[in-house]
Structure formats: C-alpha cells, structure tokens
C-alpha cells in the first residue's frame, strides 16, 4: 500500500526529532558531562584534586595572571584606540577619512591566526619592520616584539572591530540636535561631547568592553604566535595540560574559563536589556563633524589618526605584497624586488601546499551543512510549536555560545577518546570527523540567532495569504518561507565558512594527521624558518582576507553584520 504524502512527512518529522535528540545528547550534553566528570570525579568520588593541583602549579598561576593582565590592559587600550577611531571617523573633521576608514576596518578581515601570523611577519623575529628598524638601530634584539607587550599590542589594534561596528553605529544614533542644544546653553564642543555624547555612548562602550574582555580571556592564536615560548595564557595552557595527559586539570581550567566567560555574557545581556538612549528623535539631525580650531590639537589628532591607521594597515599590506614575492625575498627584503604568481601557482597546483586549504574548505563545508540542517530544524520547530521541548532544544544548541572553545574541545576529546555507544562503538578522537563536528557545534549558535531573526522578520500576512489560497504547510514552507530566507541561509553559510577558515582554538585541540586545517598550517608556518613555507603562508593569509572581505561586504549590504567568530 502506498503511503500518503502526509504520513511520509510525519515519519520524516519524527526521524528528524530522533536525529536532533541524538545530536544534542552526543555532541552537546555528553562532552559537557565529560568535562564535569573529568574535573570533579576521581576514582568514582567527587574530588577537587585537579583544582588544588591547578592552584598549586606556578605555571597555571602564571598563565591566569597573564590572562588577567592582558585582559585588563586590552580593555583599556582597545577602548582608547577604538573610541579615538570612532571620534575620528564620525565626530571630528579629519582629512582623508576614506583611507582611515579602510585602515580601521582591517580588524574585520584580519582575525585570529591570520592576524597573529601577519603581525609576526611584520614585527616578529624576521619581520619586515624589525629588519627596517635594525638597519637604523642594530642593537634592537630580534625578539623585541614578543611576550606580554606583543600580545597586548596585537590585541589593542586587532580587537577594535567591535568599536568599529557597534560604537560607530551608536554614535550615529546620537541626535546631533542634543549637541546643538548643549551648545546653545553655553557648552563648548568638548564639553558637549563629554557631558552629552559620551554618557549616551556609555552602555555601548561597556558592552564592547565586555566583548573585548571575552575575546582576551579566550585569546589563543595571538599569544601562541606572538607570546614567545615562556609566555602562557589560559586557553593555550588548557591545550598544554591536555597534551601532558592531564585532561582532569585541562577540564577544570576550562570550567574556570567558562564561568568567567559566562559572567561576561550575562553582564552584557543585562546591559543590552537596559537598552541604550536613542535620543528618541523622529527626524534626528545627522551629526556634523567638529572642526578642531586649535592648530596644535588638530595636528596631533591627525598624526595619531594616521599612526593608528599605519599600524593596522601595514601588516595587511605587507602580507598581500609579499604573497607575490619570490620565497627568497620574503625573509631578506623590505620591498620585494620582483613580483609573480609563483606562490599562488604552488598552492593551487595541488600537492602538499594545497592540502590544508582543501581540508579546511571540506571541513567548513561539512560543518556548515550539518550546522544549517540542525539550526533550520530547531528554528522551524521553535517557530511552529512554542513549548518547553522546543525551547529546551533551542537553548541546548545555543549552549556552545556561552562555552569557550577549549571547554567544548576538551569535552569532545575526553568523551570520545574511547569507543562510544552513542557513535556505534566508534572512537572519534584521532579521526577526520572530530574537527568538522567541533566546528559545527561552534557555528550553530550564530546560525540559530540569524535564522531566528530571519523567521521573525517574515511577513506573517504572506503566509496567511498562502494559507487562504489553500497551500499546505509543506508547500507554504517550500514556496513562501524558503525563498524568503534563502539569501540569509547563503550568507550565514558564507560567514561561517569564513570563520572556520581562520578558526584556531578548536582546531588546535582537535586536529590530527587526517584533517590538518589551514589555521594550523599557518601557525606551524609562522614558526618555521623555511622561506617556501612562509611564501605559502602569505598566499593563504591573502586568500582568507579576500574571502572575508567578500563575505563581510555582502553581509553588510544585507545588514547582517559580522559573524562573531572565536
């Protein structure tokens, strides 16, 4: 007997529910449970042994201290640079704003391990700038740019993307008539900025500060590449502990990191809920740039604006130019003597140089496909049936958003180091699949958020019109809903592949010989002294930046902003 289409749909639906429950249990709850048991259970009883061992270790204390110092300094320095940039771009009359805007936008495309490697290429031991400075001051040590200074410096100029995105948007929402009102009451431009504009921006500044703190606390690639051998931060130390076969201590440390990160996020949500002052203007007066009448202040402002731009632009420009330079010239010259496509041909002609890119694209594709399938299912379900089950499912898949990557990674490693019943007695650790699964877990929360927003913004009358015209739920979904959200799906896929190409934290924990990704190849390349490897690295970095630029431009056009990559 032939099954009706209705019963086919119904069976598919229950199959989907079963699959999604399996995914939730296997890849979210089991790893979390594994982290907790590793941290708190020893020999079958609750124990705080790993915690006390962590507390007793000088290296751990050092890493925690470093992480706190770096985070506190980064929040201060990033705010100084970020607020200054926003003032230059939106509030002050500064010449050459267009080029400054391009330079200040660099942290959007220059992220994670790509940025760390780029800074190393510019300022590091054999860096271009190091060689330039040494030609004037031969006494400059090779490793002048390393340790805590280098990490804070890199954070300062790489974590301004939140200011670029959110603080700029916030200052644009400030109604300029407030500044004029203040001036008509006798306040100078400076006084108007301090008394009126800045207080209105404070909630946003606070929120971006927390984002910077969140990023600094979990910072991995930057300290790994620029910190030097004697410098640890927490995320890197978790990896070290794990490789020293102390998963219990790694788990405990990742729980500590997780708690701090969750506190950051909770605080941020509180600020978001309190809302910000929009000024409430129905027809807000657009901000008019302030001309700095004092020539000295004006000169200093211009000089500082261009210096910051140079610092942010230089590594990007050098990486791009040298990606076309012969391998020999990369570690020897300041300006390449010749340019060619040789390095690009080496990458794209296949072979070893191509493997990491191929791996990352393949794993990115798999992770994004899995992530999209799960996210769509969860969002559709939550959209259609609002009950405890769907809310729970939604919250389950949003969980990885508040957990730092090392926490999830340690969870996957400890849960699946041995054959697991959940996976048909397979071992995940050491296999190709562990990394794409890790990536998928990380990208799902953003996908759910973006897709949920897309579903909310659908016109309900269109669906009601389709219903009134007799369309079935499935038909309505395929012909009305899906076409409307397809651009969002495509974009969110692009954004997440972009994130995965330069993802370092998860990769560092989960990669193996079967799946070595681009970010790990970049990291290894940065430490190698082989010029051929350096040349290939530069090609990779350029390709990732170009891809990021493309995705961000398209996303910006659709108003989706940037993916919150780890």
């Amino acid at each position: 007997m032939k099954m009706s289409s209705h019963s086919v749909q119904k069976s598919l639906y229950y199959l989907g529910i079963a699959l999604i429950l399996w995914v939730a249990v296997s890849f979210i709850y089991t790893p979390i449970f594994a982290v907790l048991t590793n941290a708190f259970v020893a020999d079958g009883t609750v124990s705080f042994k790993s915690a006390s061992e962590l507390a007793g270790s000088n290296r751990v204390r050092g890493a925690i201290t470093n992480t706190i110092i770096v985070t506190v300094f980064s929040v201060v320095t990033v705010n100084i640079v970020g607020i200054f940039q926003v003032a230059v771009l939106e509030y002050l009359s500064v010449r050459g704003r267009r080029i400054l805007k391009v330079a200040y936008a660099m942290p959007l495309v220059f992220v994670s391990v790509v940025a760390a490697t780029g800074y190393n290429f510019t300022y590091g031991q054999t860096g271009v700038l190091t060689r330039v400075i040494q030609s004037f001051f031969p006494a400059l040590p090779n490793d002048w740019f390393s340790g805590i200074f280098a990490v804070i410096f890199a954070h300062t100029f790489l974590l301004t993307s939140f200011h670029y995105l959110f603080l700029r948007a916030a200052i644009r929402r400030v109604d300029y008539s407030l500044v004029e009102a203040a001036r008509s009451l006798g306040a100078s431009n400076m006084r108007a900025f301090v008394s009126v504009v800045l207080p209105l921006l404070l909630p946003t500044i606070f929120a971006t500060s927390l984002l910077v703190a969140y990023k600094s606390l979990g910072s991995f690639a930057i300290p790994a590449v620029l910190g030097g051998r004697r410098f640890d931060m927490v995320a890197e130390l978790i990896l070290t502990l794990n490789s020293l076969r102390r998963p219990d201590m790694a788990a405990m440390l990742s729980i500590g990191l997780g708690i701090v990160v969750i506190l950051c996020i909770l605080l941020m949500q509180r600020i978001e809920k309190r809302g910000s002052y929009g000024g409430g203007a129905k027809t807000p007066v657009p901000i008019q740039r302030i001309v700095l009448s004092n020539p000295i202040i004006n000169l200093v402002t211009h000089a500082a604006a261009y210096l910051v731009a140079l610092i942010q632009l230089l590594p990007v420009v050098l990486v791009m130019i040298f990606s076309f330079a012969p391998a020999k010239s990369i570690i020897a010259e300041v300006i390449p003597s010749s340019l060619s496509l040789t390095n690009y041909i080496a990458v794209f002609s296949g072979g070893d140089a191509f493997t990491p890119l191929k791996n990352s694209l393949l794993m990115g594709g798999i992770a994004v496909s899995l992530g999209l399938a799960i996210s769509l299912f969860v969002v559709i379900l939550a959209n259609r049936y609002k009950n405890r089950f769907t809310t729970g499912l939604d919250l389950t898949f949003m969980l990885p958003w508040v957990l730092p990557a090392p926490f999830i990674a340690i969870g996957l490693i400890t849960a699946f180091a041995t054959p697991s019943v959940l996976l048909g007695n397979q071992t995940l650790l050491g296999s190709f699949w562990i990394l794409p699964i890790g990536y998928a877990i990380v990208v799902i929360p953003l996908m759910i958020r973006v897709l949920r927003a897309a579903f909310y913004s659908l016109d309900p009358y269109q669906l009601e019109a389709a219903r009134a015209l007799g369309a079935s739920p499935f038909y309505r979904f395929m012909r009305v809903t899906l076409p409307a959200i397809t651009p969002v799906i495509v974009l969110v896929a692009g954004m997440n592949i972009n994130t995965i190409l330069s993802e370092y934290s998860m990769s560092a924990f989960l990669f193996n010989v079967n799946n070595k990704p681009l970010s790990i190849a970049l990291f290894e390349g940065a430490r190698s002294t082989n010029p051929e490897q350096a040349a290939i690295n530069l090609v990779y970095m350029t390709l990732i930046m170009v891809f990021s630029y493309f995705i961000i431009s398209v996303a910006d056009r659709y108003g989706l902003g940037r993916s919150d990559s780890r």
Binding site: S184, L185, G186, A187, G279
Partner: protein, 335 residues
C-alpha cells in the same frame, strides 16, 4: 531686539538665502513661514549660531553676534524633537546651562526651582524625559533655555511631529508661556494655520527671499505676491474666461478665496457641481465654470444638502475680494 541686515547664507556653492533684512521687536511672536526647503530653518539656525552667514549682520540686542559661536550668543532654541538630554532628569536638563556657566549650586537650585514652577513642571523635576508627555517635554525645553535668562527663544517646527489635537493644545501653551514670561519668540513652521493663529507678525519665505512681512491679517487679506496668496490659505487662480465674465481688465494674475464665492439659484454665473468634500462645519464644493474648476467654501450642512454632483447652479464672486497682481499669468509664481 533681533535685526538681520542683508544676510546672505550659502551651503557650498548653493545660495540658500540671498539677501534678507528683518527687524523683530522685543516680546514679539514672530514666525518664519514657508514650504520645506525655502530656507526658513537655515535663517533660524544662523540666528542661533549653527550656520555661518556668508555676508551681512546679525544684531542681537544691539550687539553684532554674526561671528560669535553658538555657545556665546545667549539665544535659546527649542528643537523639533526638543533635544532633551535623555540621560538626565528634568532638573538636570534645566540646570545644564547654569552648570556650564559655573554658577553656584544654591543659585542654580533657586533659579531652576523658579523656572520649573513658572513653566508648570516642578512636580516632574525628578523624572527622565522619556517619562514625560510631549507637552511636558516641550515645557522642559523652554524652561531649559529661559533659566539662562535668555530673552530670545527660537522654535524649530516644534509641533510638526504631533497629531492635530495635541498640536492645538501646544500652540496655546507656547503662546501662554510667551505672554506670561515675556520672551521674544522666533518660530519656524510650514503650517500656515499655526503661523496665522500664533504670530504677532510673520514672514513668508519663498526660495530664501522674504515675499512679505506683516500681521496675519495683512498676509491673508492683502498678500503681496501671488506666491503668498497661493501658499497662505486656499485660493482659486482665476482663468481669463472668468475674469472676462466678471469684466476684469487686469492682464496679470487674479485670485479669489473659496469663502468669497457664493452659490445660489440667483447668481450671475452658471456653474456645474463637480465634487463635494464634506468636512462638517464648513465644506468644500468644486464647481466647474467653462472648463475651469473653482473651489467654494460652504458653511453649515443645510446649504450642502441642496447640492448634488452634476447639478447646475449659479455663483457670485465678491469683486472687492479679488486679489490682483501685475505679474503675468504665464510666469510661474512658485519659482
């Protein structure tokens, strides 16, 4: 009190106000009226000091302030959205200027208290602006400027975002405060009813030029230019046929207001009723005279009930109320 002398304002290459001269008396309620983009807000902002004049002078209370920055002019401004500082309470908003001027705290307290009483918002002193109604916000905006001892208050279309009923109340409120607290008000609006009802005198702007300055009655009853006649109140531009039928020899433009046309069975000119806009106490009836549509104001509903679309009827035009201009009928009065 305020004197503009040959004021010229440009935005880059574009000349927004070519040459404006104007005197506003102390305690006067003076309105700048005109369509959007005519330059009225620009003039207001130049008085406040937010827009620089290219040439000419701005004299406030006998002092040339043309080149003074806004913060030194002692001119209050009430913005379209009131521009109250959203992070401050009503009291802090009102005290802002006094704090900037570094007044002593007991003086600030006393002056703020007095103005809050005078503007009737003392009971809301501890609230933030978003907890106030539109009317209360407006009073805070006015109090904030007046507390500085400011004698001149500029209003930049403060009623344009409000619905009709609230707007009526606010008009009365502004007028009452202006009479009681005796400040000079310069009011910008594109709403002719607002301008006519509130102003002691008004200026009608046409592309940056003052077409006419006068009382509401001057402007409505004796418009100086065809533009003023068309912009302020409804007007019927008379066709050559209608002028001929009425025996007018004038070759320029001629207008008649809708209320100066009477419909009856015994009128002089035959017309056909083409449309009826029922508006309650007064209504508009469109009638056709030799291919030309004229708008007629009909008072009450009794007269209206006798009319139907397509009906033939007669009309009379009050010859004394015809507005005649020398300007040629082929010239575009809007330009």
């Amino acid at each position: 009190m305020i004197s503009l002398q040959n004021l010229q304002i440009c935005y880059g290459e574009v000349e927004v106000v070519p040459d404006l001269s104007l005197d506003i008396e102390k305690g006067e309620f003076f309105t700048l009226l005109g369509p959007s983009g005519c330059g009225k807000t620009t003039v207001l902002r130049s008085i406040a000091g937010f827009v620089n004049a290219k040439s000419g002078k701005i004299i406030l209370d006998g002092q040339d302030v043309t080149h003074q920055p806004a913060e030194q002019r002692d001119v209050g401004i009430v913005f379209q959205n009131y521009a109250l500082f959203p992070h401050m309470t009503v009291r802090d908003n009102v005290a802002f200027g006094l704090k900037v001027a570094k007044k002593k705290s007991n003086e600030i307290k006393a002056r703020v208290g007095r103005i809050l009483e005078a503007t009737g918002i003392a009971e809301h002193a501890g609230k933030k602006p978003d907890a106030l109604s539109g009317g209360q916000q407006q009073r805070v905006a006015i109090a904030r400027s007046l507390v500085m001892g400011t004698q001149v208050l500029l209003f930049d279309e403060p009623l344009s975002n409000l619905d009709a009923r609230v707007r009526d109340d606010m008009r009365k409120e502004i007028k009452r405060l202006q009479r009681e607290l005796d400040f000079t008000a310069v009011f910008v609006t594109h709403d002719q009813d607002e301008a006519l009802s509130m102003s002691d005198r008004l200026l009608v702007f046409n592309k940056g030029n003052a077409d006419q300055i006068g009382t509401s009655d001057d402007i409505y009853s004796r418009p100086a230019t065809p533009f003023v006649c068309e912009f302020v109140g409804a007007s019927n531009k008379m066709s050559p046929e209608l002028k001929a039928a009425l025996g007018l020899k004038n070759k320029g433009l001629a207008y008649i207001r809708p209320e100066e046309i009477r419909l009856s069975d015994h009128g002089a000119l035959p017309v056909i009723v083409r449309d009826i806009d029922f508006l309650g106490p007064t209504s508009f009836v469109d009638v056709q005279f030799q291919g030309e549509i004229l708008r007629v104001l009909v008072t009450g509903t009794d007269a209206l009930n006798k009319l139907s679309v397509g009906q033939e009827i007669k009309m009379d035009v009050n010859p004394e109320k015809i507005q005649l201009f020398d300007i040629g009928a082929d010239e575009d009065v809007q330009s």
